[in-house]
């Protein structure tokens, strides 16, 4: 039960010595694997597949960090966390990093003592309803029952949105994505609201996906990204640049297929720096020079990860949209690698 997890994490905060001082990177290296807080199960983002192997674009960030640190993307232990316990687990040191569709907000960044290292998916809160209700806009939802996951930015946005539009609603607060799906499908609520990406992911798993429609209104900004504890900027840099390396790789056209070719032949100086052809950049992060090449070889660039897990050719079927590179009309933008 989550309450036990929360209690446990509180206990760790209470009794545990402040081990974070040792430097998470060293702790991870000594341990020999990365402990990554993931979703309890959200298709396309973080979900174990039929063989029990975790997959998804959030999971790929964990894998990228493992590839950067160990040269082996499989050296990750996943700890599924509900939205409620995730921050306490990270704060208490139970996990090394969090990569589970978590919105970057001021309060989480500052007051909870976390550090968000970037954005791996630009999202926004949406509403899903059954098609046969005949609703075409979120402004027609007055009086509806709404299923909502607790401990998320969603419940606050929901209160704000309905309040601002003078609409009333009944909220049914549930713990996990699967509970919300069950209550929504049973007709306990008319609307399921969460980040639009989550709605698409859930819908893909429904018995009849075409009977449900995601309404056009997106009522919030939800930049989802990985986070680490705020007192360890060295470790934050490792995670930040692992994500950036994937984005830069897409920008430079480096894929898991052509990475070795690029190492041998690319004349582009930034590509050479990224792939460790020009030595010395890995050492700045406390890693070896092949770290980014390892990420791209084993995990792929951002585009590969996106298309593999949530892109238009998957059941989840999400367009790149905001998540396209800045030069392709999106807002995905990594700082220069120099």
């Amino acid at each position: 039960m989550t309450i036990i997890k929360t209690l446990f994490a509180s206990l760790v905060l209470t009794f545990g010595l402040a081990t974070a001082n040792a430097g998470t990177l060293d702790v991870v290296k000594d341990r020999g694997n990365l402990i990554c807080g993931s979703n309890t199960g959200l298709a396309g983002f973080g979900n174990p597949n039929d063989a029990g192997v975790w997959e998804g674009i959030d999971v790929d960030v964990c894998r990228a960090v493992a590839a950067a640190v160990f040269g082996d993307a499989s050296k990750v232990e996943y700890v599924p966390l509900t939205s409620k316990v995730r921050f306490t687990s990270l704060q208490s040191g139970e996990v090394d990093m969090l990569s589970r569709n978590t919105t970057w907000t001021l309060q989480r960044d500052v007051e909870l003592g976390l550090e968000f290292v970037g954005v791996n998916y630009y999202d926004g809160q949406g509403f899903m309803v059954r098609k046969d209700l005949g609703v075409s806009s979120a402004t027609e939802l007055d009086g509806a029952s709404v299923c909502i996951q607790v401990g998320t930015t969603t419940e606050m946005n929901l209160a704000d949105y309905f309040g601002a539009n003078g609409m009333s609603y009944e909220s049914i607060p549930v713990e996990t994505n699967s509970e919300a799906d069950a209550a929504y499908l049973a007709g306990r609520c008319d609307i399921y609201t969460t980040d639009a990406s989550g709605l698409y992911a859930s819908r893909a798993g429904y018995p009849d996906p075409s009977a449900h429609v995601v309404l056009p209104e997106i009522v919030s900004k939800e930049p989802l990204g990985p986070s680490v504890r705020g007192n360890d900027s060295e470790w934050a840099d490792v995670v930040r640049w692992s994500l950036n390396a994937m984005i830069i790789a897409e920008e430079k056209g480096i894929t898991s297929g052509n990475v070795d070719d690029m190492i041998a032949n690319s004349p582009d100086p930034e590509t050479q720096r990224l792939l460790g052809v020009k030595a010395g950049y890995g050492a700045w992060l406390g890693l070896d020079d092949a770290w980014a090449a390892n990420i791209i070889r084993q995990v792929g660039n951002y585009s590969e990860s996106f298309e593999k897990h949530i892109g238009v050719n998957t059941p989840i079927n999400i367009e790149r949209g905001l998540n396209a590179l800045y030069k392709d009309g999106g807002i995905l933008y990594a700082p220069p690698f120099r």
């Binding site: 905060l13 029952s145 419940e155 609603y169 306990r188």
Partner: protein
């Protein structure tokens, strides 16, 4: 002299006990101090803010099941009271239902009817041995499979049952209804004294009065009489299907019902065993003696057996009430916004104040439990043997 003191410390029982107790308390205090200090240190090292100021900021989320007016602009403190009241509501309703059901089943288990006795037996063994969490989820799932809201079952024209809950007309009290309530209270007090008076009279004259009949008649019919006298100051707000949901009226939500059924059916099994053991503990001679006096069997139960059985029943009954109250924290499993789910869950997550909120929630449960124990102990004293036995 000095040696004498040291000797005393070791060999004198009283002094030795005092020494050990002081030591234990001392170690305990030091431990608490160290834990507090370490916590503060850890929190500071991790850049996590502490303090209780968060109670006064807007909660920002809505709670649908609330006994007091509440919206997302209210503070976390108010969200705490909403959760507390929801916890108390489920605890009170649950204890009430569990007690009635438990007493019934306990008595049925001693019945001479084979069928009834064994149905009760199967019920007790089943519910007692399946975790209460699973039972709550089971009842909730069943409730979710009631008809959808647009196909609600209509009961007595005015009640609508669906998987959104039971919608019923809500009473609207108009001027003068307080007098009806007043007459009810006056009658309850009056019948209390009337009962005393008639009992005394019975003791003097030996003549029996139908006290129960007279009193219930007074309590029921006087307010009804006053109600018509005041010109029926009561109207009903009927639920009407509008858009997605029923508007108006009152609703009992499936989350509440799931909790109520789960908790009370589970706890009633334990209470029934307590009741059964209480009744069996009254020696057979008591029953035989009262039969010999020619008492009717329901009089035997009410006047002879139950009062003696209560002495055995009350202490374990107290702990069942405490269990039920604490188990109500399982509301999180089905989205019942009790103290743990609302304040201890959502507020905790929105503010990140895990330690502060856990402290508040835990001390609240402790307080509720101690209050229940206090009153049950008072009641227990009242039913114990009086005088020298």
């Amino acid at each position: 002299m000095q040696q004498n003191f040291l000797r005393k410390l070791i060999f004198d029982e009283k002094t030795r006990a005092l020494l050990i107790q002081t030591l234990v308390i001392g170690i305990f205090a030091v431990l608490i101090y160290l834990v507090t200090k370490q916590t503060a240190y850890n929190l500071e090292k991790r850049g996590i803010g502490t303090g209780f100021e968060f109670l006064n900021i807007a909660a920002g989320y809505d709670i649908s099941i609330s006994l007091i007016p509440y919206d997302s602009n209210d503070t976390h403190l108010r969200a705490y009271f909403v959760g507390l009241l929801n916890t108390l509501m489920i605890a009170v309703c649950g204890c009430f239902l569990a007690t009635i059901l438990g007493f019934l089943v306990g008595i049925i288990r001693l019945s001479s009817n084979w069928l009834f006795r064994n149905i009760a037996y199967v019920y007790v063994e089943f519910t007692r041995n399946v975790p209460v969490l699973l039972q709550i989820i089971l009842y909730y799932t069943i409730l979710l499979h009631l008809p959808k809201v647009k196909q609600s079952l209509v009961i007595f024209d005015n009640f609508y049952l669906s998987n959104r809950g039971l919608f019923s007309p809500a009473p609207i009290f108009k001027d003068g209804f307080s007098i009806v309530i007043g007459s009810l209270i006056v009658m309850i007090i009056f019948t209390f004294f009337l009962k005393r008076f008639l009992k005394k009279k019975q003791e003097l004259t030996g003549k029996q009065y139908p006290i129960f009949l007279i009193n219930s008649g007074l309590i029921i019919f006087t307010p009804i009489f006053v109600y018509y006298l005041m010109g029926m100051p009561l109207e009903f707000d009927h639920p009407v299907m509008k858009g997605f949901n029923f508007k108006g009226g009152m609703v009992i939500r499936p989350e509440f019902l799931g909790m109520l059924f789960g908790l009370s059916i589970y706890t009633a099994a334990f209470i029934s065993e307590t009741v059964r053991s209480g009744i069996i503990s009254v020696s057979k001679g008591q029953r035989e003696a009262s039969q010999a006096l020619g008492l009717k069997s329901n009089f035997i139960m009410r006047l002879i057996i139950i009062p003696q059985a209560l002495r055995v029943i009350i202490p374990p009954l107290t702990s069942q009430y405490l269990n039920l109250t604490k188990n109500s924290s399982l509301g999180i499993a089905i989205g019942y916004a009790d103290l743990v789910h609302g304040f201890g869950g959502i507020s905790l997550n929105q503010t990140g104040k895990a330690i502060e909120i856990m402290l508040i929630v835990m001390s609240t449960y402790l307080t509720i439990s101690l209050i229940i124990s206090f009153f049950m102990n008072l009641y227990n004293k009242a039913v114990q043997f009086k005088g020298n036995v």
